[in-house]
Symmetry: C2
Subunit: 248 residues, 2 copies
DNA sequence: AGCTTTTTTTGATCTGCGTCAATTAGTGAT
DNA sequence: ATCACTAATTGACGCAGATCAAAAAAAGCT
């Protein structure tokens, strides 16, 4: 599977992995849809699978009316808002298996914009078209509750860990979080495609670009990670955990 | 309504306010329960109203099995976890109208401990006893989805704002958040009972006790707030908003 | 009340990281 | 390949806020 940008060496090419349906966050809902008996009121086309999204394209925009939930199949995205000084602020990254847009379930509008960091693909679930009553509706509701609950729990962890940590701890935790999320979805947890820019990471972690750069090279020099362009290989998982304190 | 600690002057006494049911986060669910037709499968005692909780008592503990969701009727609580160095970390505060324990919906265990900051009262909703099917189940599911969605949206805002702000901005935002939440629930948004200690605030905001103290007195000296013991009166809402940048 | 313990405030250093500035590397277009 | 432009790295410096230390205020005892 080719990548967006053309890199000379195979080593430097991000392995563009696709998450298996069974490991995807949308799977509980997909299963309901797949196994729904005919006449359950679920129309065709409610779920669009593997929509391709080119690098740089907006998947959805802040304040747009809430229409759909997306699941990342391959590639990656960043979520952003803008503060009063109109400068962009990165508020999250989405990796294969992650759900995008769940916040709209309460607010009816998306609370951030989402842009593809590389050529990616998503599955799109139309909310309007979901069945309005019946057994499959209950099952879908249950699945949504679980998904939202997970998001609450995860956000909680992220907030907690980020606020109280210094720059080194934040970056260690960030790398581990990428690795862990890849692992959970059944993807490579040693080699990570750092598709986002240093500025994106800095904005997300509340640090300066320069600090991110400095600490990444520091980690590299201490043989905690190997870093070639945008491919990051975790060399010493234990050491990173010890640094990040909030190991898991 | 008497307060826990005995303060001499009436001015220094926190007005111990109780949130109206109509303004409470649990209300959507309470309504379903109240108006459920007989035979809907909803047992008696599923909802315990106005449970009193003495100051300092644990409402629920980290890793305990998830049994119930609580709504704060009056008083306040703090949520805490512990990092590896076994020092306490405050991860949130609950005010009248707020829901406690929603994170358990996904994880089956509470992800933090919750302790009463003053004599408080809560309503307790037993999750096990909720109807397993039918119309009222669907209504409850819907309500839960909305609640969780709101929590996701709010957490998002908090995270975003906290991480990128300096100490002054964080504290301004914190005060405004308390005021806004009081306002939303129909309570006094000028006079806030700061039931938590400076250490709690510091831990929550990722600052040192001393910094919180210094900046609060700075705000006091600039006539942004009036501060007597644990009663905080917002004097210049606009100035605080301008400070916090992420005004709303 | 008086005594003890905890919390808060205030002051004096010290340092991590943001900011500014300059260099190098990477990317895309012709 | 060359040029132009953006992203990343590296260095120098200053300040916001952590840390250490001590006094003052509040709260909880008997």
């Amino acid at each position: 599977m080719p990548r967006t940008c053309c890199l000379p060496s195979a080593e430097q090419r991000t392995p563009h992995q696709e998450v298996a349906c069974s490991e995807c966050g949308l799977d509980p809902i997909c299963q309901v849809l797949d196994y729904a008996e005919p006449g359950s009121g679920i129309p065709e086309g409610i779920l669009i699978r593997r929509m391709p999204i080119p690098r740089g394209e907006m998947l959805l925009a802040y304040n747009q009316p809430f229409r759909a939930i997306y699941a990342v199949k391959s590639g990656s995205f960043k979520a952003m808002t803008w503060d009063l000084s109109s400068s962009e602020r990165v508020v999250g990254f989405f990796l294969p298996g992650d759900l995008i847009g769940t916040d709209g379930l309460a607010t009816d509008c998306y609370s951030y914009s989402v842009r593809a960091l590389e050529t990616s693909s998503v599955c799109r679930l139309e909310i309007e078209a979901l069945p309005k009553s019946g057994r499959s509706r209950e099952a879908i509701q249950d699945a949504l509750i679980t998904l939202l609950g997970q998001e609450v729990a995860m956000n909680h962890m992220v907030t907690t860990s980020l606020i109280q940590q210094n720059a080194e701890q934040r970056i260690a935790a960030f790398i581990l979080s990428l690795a862990r999320r890849s692992g959970i979805r059944g993807l490579n947890r040693q080699e990570l495609g750092l598709s986002m820019s240093r500025s994106d990471i800095a904005s997300y972690l509340g640090l300066a670009r320069e600090t991110v750069s400095r600490i990444l090279t520091r980690f590299h020099n201490s043989n905690l990670i190997e870093l070639r362009k945008h491919l990051l290989r975790v060399l010493d998982h234990g050491a990173l955990e010890r640094l990040s304190v909030l190991s898991e």
